[in-house]
Symmetry: C2
Subunit: 569 residues, 2 copies
């Protein structure tokens, strides 16, 4: 392609509403243009990237044996009423009436449509398992669309749905999809993690999210530095510390601690590290009761873990100061487990503490030199209550936890019978009886991958695409091509050589100065750049520079194709 | 692909609402399933055909230099208000409000969106001409969706839009698109005609429709039997007859014709052919006037031609019996041009009539032996008023007119400045002045092509696909494969040979009897079928039968690939 036939739409201005790098760069590089809040047109350059994401996804889904279909965007309310989601989904569901006042929504997802298809087309267990997928436009009426195509109202998704006779078959297809997703994200050339996820409102037991790693990511991910373990920070288990509890060495002492409330203040006051302090939090339990949670002073409570413990109200609610004073006889800053008249749950991390500091349940007083068993019995209930931190042992026992930020671009679920039971999607099983099918569902945010790739790969000059997603792999920038027939001829020859070798090449044939070409090619993120000038004609070389290289290097004409092949391998 | 991995969804039943062959066959062959009135899911087999239509279209659009974009389905009302179409479009425009009560439509077409894009991105005449296109989902809230995907509410379109500095440039791109469309429909392998069309409400001067020929088509097309001329019947010109008017041979006579009103009755009464009779019609003119139109008795008035004549009211209105009696002194059955006190416009076909019959403007009386000049002057205004008929000289002078029925699947327009002026889409021209751009637009009904192909190609057993659009090109039907290892091995070998040769092959590996396989493969319309059985193992041959062949033929194993290559060339 030539820039004369494939004009670039690069601009200098960054739109006022663009808050993150990918949004700014997608506008500046001319990948998208805004039509209305959260609604975009993909320009030719952006669409090339989107199509590459689609192409790789489609190829790997086909390899995994999934069957491509195309379901409609317009979905009749009746199907959503069957699953109860017409009422439950809320204002993010874009709804409309047709000219006969029949109600429809613009699908944000297609569980109802595919389950309706499955209950009509699938009759016998012999037709199972089966996986359908589509690459299709979805709609979500976001209250505040932002971040460009990252959180837009109209976007492209790959969504897949599998149907099964039993859990074993569901698990098998789930594993195949997990592998297909791993292949897809590897082929995208992106750093990513498959993380154990909370399946949340969509239901079902097992669920993984696929995150593209990027500092700007909305989610924190805990992963092992030496194994495949990865989980949402909220979901990552903190193992019980190994080893023996140290023997007491200090006397158990009540100390006056005027105006010392927080762990920071207490650790400074006693001149100990935060991990020598015990943190006591009071939360609401069932039937208006209160429950005390104990954590090591340097650890943070993970509310998602706490609210899953029987007897604790979900979502988690902290007791008010007044309730604490009434129940414990002191303000929150002096709380401790000793003499507390309520159920106590201790985090695993507190069990090996010794000679620790804790509140005395009297305002302005703490105990120092506290030791389990000697001064206070170990709480009856020990649980995993805290957020994992860097350096924790990985929950699978292999290596240590590292924490990174990620952007969720894929999600796979085992739905079980949530939709198939509600819609009576049954087949005849081997025993000749009706049986509700089990379902899995598997999504990739196709448009979102484009933005996530930019969040992961950019610098102050523009986008840095991986080879597989770049709109063009190689840019040819001729210097003053139009002034020299000899140069023109060489440029054309090399351009066609590269095309013939199968590269995606953009020849910048604009009559603009070199600096202008370079800054455009850097902004749009072409991974490999070749400069051909008069000087190179004499030496028979081009100047090659990778998008992230600090220096250019000279490559003889005869070696360009092989050189680029090795770069793109 | 194997039917075990690519299950067919063929069914015996034809849905009650399916009125035409393509709708019935798309359901029976398992290409689509209905979700709601006019809303369908494309099943894997149907989607393969749809994707082939898309692929060919995209490839030819790219070759023609058009740039692919992807515009949103959701379009803000504000843009449609700029062109006035928000009010004018009527209830076929699917409208909705978002959660903030802002109005949107689901685009049936994208003139407003692309013109908004063009006015923002195009600044200088140097950027022109430029053509954008997309392959995208469109919505039309049909009052009565029918005929399956032929007239549905959600469908896939290829729409393209070009922008120009002047008419010459618009005409050039229009010609390029005309050629691209010709290439596309040729590659589809469909019999089609590019016909001169009325550009109607969309506006603009020049317009062609691309019709797939099929007996069930909604439109009548007049085309030459020896040139490329083709036009909608309404648009086709009837040339003036060549030659000399015969000399009068009969006396001009007033004849009593009691109860003889229609041309049929008059020609029987006088025992002459209808073409010896003159037909007089009275239509409404401007300012409540009346105008008489004269046609040869065997010719039909074309109202679209008549209403374009200055002085005649559009849309065409016929005078009532009362008005005719008041103005002419007789009922409609006795009308004629002699003594008529109103403007008279004669069709070209009447000019060479001689010794003809016409009404005498007295009830129950006609003149016979009427001759122009001798008995009545030729009307001052001679025009093309009639519908063409088979056998007419083609308007380009080459060959004779044939009339066929067609399905409109493509339409190209010269829009002129209709949208660009309304939306102030201007660029800076060579003189440094603002200038409104001219536009062309070019559509192909991608989903509709699939249905039209079936309307053109089917028989009582099912679909007959052209090679290029068939979901699979070759079906392999093994006889009792599962009972013979030797056969199994040969089938697998031939299957892989055909795959390696690049054919789209479907291997029917179901344990079903041959007749069942054959009827499925005929229903889904696979163009080429290979049967491999025990008998062929001995002779080293397969049985080949094309979808429309009456007989099968034996092909040696070693020749199958070359044989199929010749069939698919």
């Amino acid at each position: 392609m030539r820039t004369s036939q494939f004009p670039l739409n690069t601009v200098k201005e960054t739109p006022a509403d663009a808050e993150i790098a990918s949004h700014k760069l997608m506008i500046r590089a001319g990948l998208i243009r805004k039509i209305a809040a959260g609604i975009y047109t993909w320009l030719p350059l952006g669409l090339r990237v989107l199509r590459k994401v689609e192409y790789i996804t489609r190829e790997e889904m086909n390899k995994a044996g999934a069957l491509e279909v195309l379901m409609p965007a317009l979905q009749p309310a009746e199907l959503w009423q069957e699953t109860g989601r017409w009422e439950k989904y809320g204002p993010e569901l874009a709804r409309m009436q047709d000219r006969h006042a029949r109600e429809f929504c613009l699908g944000p997802t297609h569980e109802e449509i595919i389950t309706d298809l499955a209950r009509n087309e699938l009759k016998s267990y012999k037709q199972l398992p089966i996986t359908y997928y589509q690459i299709q436009t979805k709609f979500r009426d976001e209250i505040r669309p932002r971040f460009g195509v990252m959180r837009s109202r109209e976007f492209v998704m790959k969504d897949a749905y599998s149907f099964h006779l039993n859990q074993e078959s569901l698990q098998q297809t789930y594993d195949v999809m997990y592998q297909a997703y791993t292949n897809i994200f590897n082929r995208f050339g992106l750093k990513f993690r498959a993380v154990i996820a909370d399946s949340g409102a969509i239901g079902g037991a097992v669920s993984h999210e696929f995150h593209v790693l990027a500092d700007s990511g909305e989610d924190a991910i805990a992963f092992s530095d030496s194994s495949h373990y990865a989980a949402n920070v909220e979901k990552a288990e903190a193992l019980a510390p190994q080893g023996e509890r140290p023997q007491p060495t200090q006397a158990f002492t009540l100390v006056e601690t005027p105006n010392q409330h927080s762990i920071d203040e207490i650790s400074r006051f006693f001149n100990v590290r935060a991990e020598q302090c015990l943190k006591t939090l009071i939360v609401r339990g069932e039937d208006n009761s209160l429950v005390a949670l104990l954590l090591r002073g340097d650890h943070e409570l993970n509310p998602i873990k706490a609210e899953k413990i029987p007897g604790i109200v979900a979502p988690l609610q902290f007791a008010s100061d007044e309730e604490i004073i009434a129940a414990c006889g002191c303000k929150p800053g002096s709380l401790g487990p000793i003499g507390l008249n309520m159920p106590i749950i201790a985090d695993r991390g507190t069990v090996l503490m010794a000679d620790f500091i804790c509140g005395a349940n009297q305002d302005g007083k703490h105990y120092s030199g506290t030791n389990w068993l000697r001064d206070i019995p170990l709480p009856a209930q020990i649980a995993d209550l805290r957020l994992v931190v860097e350096g924790d042992v990985s929950p699978d026992g292999n290596g240590k936890i590292t924490i990174a930020r990620g952007i969720e671009v894929g999600h796979i679920f085992q739905l079980g019978d949530k939709y198939s039971a509600a819609m009576n999607a049954a087949i005849i099983n081997e025993a000749g009886k009706n049986q509700i099918m089990l379902m899995g569902c598997y999504g990739i945010g196709i448009s979102r991958v484009v933005a996530a790739a930019i969040e992961q790969g950019h610098d102050e000059r523009g986008i840095i695409w991986p080879n597989e997603l770049a709109p063009f792999q190689v840019a040819i920038c001729p210097m003053n091509m139009h002034k020299s027939d000899r140069l023109l001829e060489t440029v054309e020859r090399i351009y066609h050589e590269l095309l013939d070798a199968g590269f995606d090449v953009l020849l910048d044939d604009r009559k603009v100065r070199a600096g202008f070409m370079f800054s455009d090619m850097e902004l749009i993120g072409i991974p490999h750049r070749i400069v051909i000038g008069d000087r190179g004609l004499d030496s028979g070389t081009v100047e090659y520079q990778g998008r992230t290289d600090r220096e250019s290097q000279e490559i003889p004409f005869s070696e360009i194709v092989n050189f680029l092949k090795s770069k793109l391998a």
